[in-house]
Symmetry: C2
Subunit: 206 residues, 2 copies
DNA sequence: ATGAAACATGAATCAATATTCAAGTCAACA
DNA sequence: TGTTGACTTGAATATTGATTCATGTTTCAT
C-alpha cells in the first residue's frame, strides 16, 4: 500500500465529480487569464466555479497543478485544432495559411490562452519550454518534408518554425488580444505574402 | 503647497543617494528576472542591493513603481542601441540585419530583459502595450520609407513591424534565452534569407 | 432501503511580505 | 566643530491567501 504525504487527490469517479472538476478548470482558465497566476486566488477560482473553497483540494493538490494541467490541455486543444485545419492540404503554403488562420481563431475563442502561456514561463518553466518545443518539433517536421520535396527554400526547419511561431504570436497579440478581432483581410494577405516570400526560394547572397 | 498622502519619494540629491537608488534598480532587475514580479520580495531586492529594507521606500513609492521604471529604462536602452547599430546604413535590408544582431546582443547582455517585458503584461498592461507600440511605430516608419522608395514590397508597415518583432523575439527566446548564446552563424543567415525573401517584392497571388 | 464511498463545505491555521515609522548615522558647510 | 538636511536602518504592523481538516451531504451498488 502506497503511503502519501497528503490526502490523495483523486480523479473523480462519478459524473458529479467530473462536472465539478471541469467547473474548476474552467473557472481557473478565466481567473488565471484575468489576474495572472500569482494574483489569482483559489477563492476566486472556486468562486467562479461556484463551489466551496475546500472542494478545490479534492481535485488538485495545489495551485500550480491546476495551472499546469490547464496549459497541457490548451496545448493539446490547439494542436488538435491545427491538425484538423490543415489535414489534407497539399501545398506547404496552403498549410501555413490555414494554420495561421486556425491559430488566430483559436486564440480568439480562448482569449485567456496567451496570458496563460506567458505566465507559464514563471510558473512552470520546464512545461513552458516543452510547450513551444513540442509545437516547434511537429512544425519543423512538416517544413522539413516540404524542403525535401523542394517545395520551399532550403532553410533550417527549426529556425523557420520559431520564426513562424513568432509571427503568429505577435500578430495574434496585436489583433486578437489587443483589438479583440481577427486582423482585417487585407493585412492577413500581407502576412501571407511575407511568409510566402520568405519560404520560397529566396534570393541568394546580398 | 502640494500635500501628499505619503511621505514624498524624492529623487536623490547627493551622489550617495544616486548610487543607492541605482543599486536598487540593479538589484530589482536581477530579482525580477529571476523570480518574476510577484515572487520578488522587496526584502530580496534590498538584499541584493545591499541596503536595508526601509531604504527602498525612500526612493520608490511601491513595488510596481520600480518595475515600471525598469521597463522604461530597458526600453530606452534598447532603442538607443538599435538606433546606434543601424545609423548610417543605406539599405533597408542592411538595417534589418544589423538591427536583428544588435537586438540579440542586447538581450544577451540583459538576460532579464525578456522576463521583465513579459511580466509587464500582468504588472502594468498599459505600459506593456506602449512598449511594443512605441517600438512598432518607429519600426514602421523606417519600413514605410523603404516602401516609398520602392526598396521593399508594398506591405502594411505596421504589420511587417509586428512580424519582424515576433521573429526576433522568438529567435531570441530560443537561442539567447534558452541556450545562452547567439544563434550559430548558419542559422542567422537563414533568418536573414527568410526576411529578405519576405520583404522583397513577394510573388503575387498563389 | 441502507451503508459505504465519494463528494462538498467553509472556518481555522499559518506563513509570507508589502508598507510604515521612529530612531539613528553621515557629510558638508558655516 | 556644530548643525542640518539627506540618507539609512530594521523592527513592527496589517493584510492576504494557500492549505488543512473535521464535519456534513449525496450517490449508488446491493
Amino acid at each position: 500500500m502506497v503511503r502519501r504525504g497528503k490526502a490523495a487527490v483523486h480523479e473523480p469517479t462519478t459524473a458529479r465529480g467530473q462536472r465539478t472538476r471541469q467547473k474548476l478548470l474552467d473557472g481557473a482558465e478565466e481567473i488565471f487569464g484575468e489576474e495572472g497566476f500569482e494574483r489569482a486566488s483559489i477563492a476566486a477560482i472556486t468562486g467562479r466555479a461556484e463551489v466551496a473553497l475546500g472542494t478545490f483540494y479534492v481535485y488538485f493538490p495545489n495551485k500550480q497543478a491546476i495551472f499546469s494541467e490547464l496549459l497541457i490541455e490548451l496545448g493539446r486543444a490547439l494542436r488538435r485544432r491545427l491538425a484538423e485545419a490543415t489535414r489534407g492540404l497539399d501545398t506547404r503554403l496552403a498549410v501555413e495559411e490555414a494554420g495561421c488562420l486556425a491559430f488566430l481563431e483559436f486564440v480568439q475563442s480562448h482569449k485567456n490562452f496567451y496570458r496563460i502561456v506567458r505566465q507559464a514561463e514563471f510558473v512552470d518553466e520546464a512545461l513552458y519550454r516543452s510547450y513551444y518545443q513540442g509545437l516547434a518539433k511537429s512544425y519543423a517536421e512538416g517544413l522539413a518534408a516540404a524542403v525535401e520535396g523542394d517545395e520551399i527554400a532550403d532553410l533550417d526547419p527549426e529556425t523557420v518554425a520559431y520564426m513562424l511561431m513568432g509571427i503568429f504570436d505577435f500578430i495574434g497579440m496585436r489583433w486578437v488580444l489587443w483589438e479583440g478581432q481577427l486582423p482585417p483581410e487585407k493585412l492577413l494577405q500581407d502576412v501571407f505574402r511575407f511568409i510566402r516570400g520568405g519560404l520560397l526560394r529566396a534570393p541568394g547572397g546580398r
